[in-house]
Symmetry: C2
Subunit: 151 residues, 2 copies
């Protein structure tokens, strides 16, 4: 028995949220966004020829204790050029970053679409912005440090 | 300036994943599932008449340090009986629970649909199962304690 199979823990007494899974058309492209641009790291990647899919877990942490995103790439789909549909139900994944405008500037210079420019909803409150990942999934950025101007 | 506006932190130096947002047709029904059945707690609820929406954050933690789910209820939508569409891209939100079969039995007795019964993918590994929330969002349950049989 290998603990590699129990990466999310093997002696927990309480439940916790582990990750959100999204399907991506091009795993390397998505890793470029989540790891290269956003600064996450790839915790693991499994390529499963029998099932014709690959999965990778990415997180800002180096372990599995903090939140993660599971990127699933089905090798043979989607078959059309439109990629996956997003529906009307799922909204976004939110990421806290110390400096929202700085992060947006960095992402923009990497060619990433800023869909909602940094704004402050309440005076004295944090800034937020929205960007799109390569598959069009919406990512919210929320300011988590007062040491930066919000806009 | 109130720290109520900085619940996700005001002096962070590193980014982290905060939450996933989903739109729900009936907020009370969803709170019944995530809090009543799954055992999360409601961190906060904001009702915004000007925007005709309510949002609630639910988490297994009592603070905003661990992962959370943001439930958004638009008071006037969806207008049809079909509710929100889920698309083909978003997959699921994964929750680690010590005892997957026990959790499924408890959820089933509460009338919740178990879409994939507990199973073990690899010998010696954890059990997993899938359930649906009231809006049909897929929730994966992953076993995080060896103290329980996986199936």
């Amino acid at each position: 028995m290998s603990d590699d199979l129990w990466v999310w823990g093997s002696n927990a007494t309480e439940p916790r949220i582990l990750h959100a899974m999204i399907r991506v058309a091009d795993l390397e492209r998505s890793l470029g966004f989540y790891c290269g641009a956003l600064g996450m790291r790839k915790l693991v990647q499994h390529d499963v020829p029998a099932g014709k899919f690959s999965i990778a877990f990415v997180s800002f942490s180096s372990d599995y204790e903090s939140g993660a995103i599971e990127l699933t790439h089905n090798w043979e789909s989607p078959a059309n050029d439109e990629g996956y549909s997003h529906g009307s139900g799922y909204g976004h994944i939110a990421i806290g970053v110390p400096d929202v405008p700085g992060t947006c500037a960095r992402l923009r210079s990497a060619g990433i679409d800023i869909t909602v420019e940094p704004k402050i909803l309440f005076p004295g409150g944090p800034s937020l912005a929205f960007v799109k990942d390569p598959d069009g999934y919406s990512i919210e950025l929320i300011q988590t440090s007062r040491d930066y101007p919000g806009i």
